[in-house]
Symmetry: C2
Subunit: 190 residues, 2 copies
Amino acid sequence: MKYPNGINKVYKVSSSNRGMALEAMINNTNIYYRDNNIAVVYKKPTPITINKVDYKSRQDAVIKEAHFIIPSTTDYNGVYKGMYIDFEAKETRKEYFPLANIHEHQIRHLINIKNCGGIGFIIVRFVLDDKIYLLTIEKLEAFINGNSRKSIPKKYFEENGFLIKPGYKPDLDYLKALDQGVEKSEKSIK
Amino acid sequence: MKYPNGINKVYKVSSSNRGMALEAMINNTNIYYRDNNIAVVYKKPTPITINKVDYKSRQDAVIKEAHFIIPSTTDYNGVYKGMYIDFEAKETRKEYFPLANIHEHQIRHLINIKNCGGIGFIIVRFVLDDKIYLLTIEKLEAFINGNSRKSIPKKYFEENGFLIKPGYKPDLDYLKALDQGVEKSEKSIK
């Protein structure tokens, strides 16, 4: 579609908004999962420290000064078929996923989850070709332990992750991808 | 000792912040559970809506106006022996527990958790005699469905809940009480 005067910025999605695209898909999916009793998964509130609160009335407190703080955990957690699931969602505009995109303590958190019998993973969207992968913490940890590289090539996701295909309802059926992973690991045990 | 979200909890217990006493005990217990690979449980950040942010620099954003919003879920969730656990902690200075102390949608949330195979419960501290009980969502729901009362008598907790005894390490071993509950329900199935 052509716009007059060379205006072609309508569909411009800035890198900060792209981050919201994946998040919005996951949030919509979580609503679908909840509405259909499939899973209960929520995004955690943004962690802040509050310095000043103006108590106009008990019901109507206004925070007047607060600061964002580095999250101790991941963005999402919840329950699916009785299992605890926990994950972080990220986008990358590169052909690889820079490990700097995830805080080290978030990786540590996912390892702790795994050690307590939970299911930890990351969801990564490669923006350039719009491919979305689920990678378990086991595979993420294996990469970190076996490499000195500061980024994970897309090939590693293709070979060790699970492709999540966007759909209509739900937007992004990541639990279906997770089921594949659980089936696969059960088969490998047999 | 480090607390999540940079919250420095001091052990000052006055009548006005007795509500914090139970919370502090649970937070300390969660640190103990994490340090000893027993469970990974966190208190969720306080949910707010942000209206104004002053970006002095990218690293140093200051929230200038925000409001508290009613939480959609409970305060705590996490993983224990692979199981998803989810709970709310409350104190009462009465001889009963007023149901108004818990938002209706929080009860609905705990029921959703149960329906997806998770373990939902409430922890209630009766301040007057300093007794702390764990009550599963199954028992809470049974009370609500079987009564028109707006409060749960302490006797109901004594008969249907699990007493949690404060200790030294950890401060409040609520997972031990939960184990009793799981054992009991397994016995009743046999």
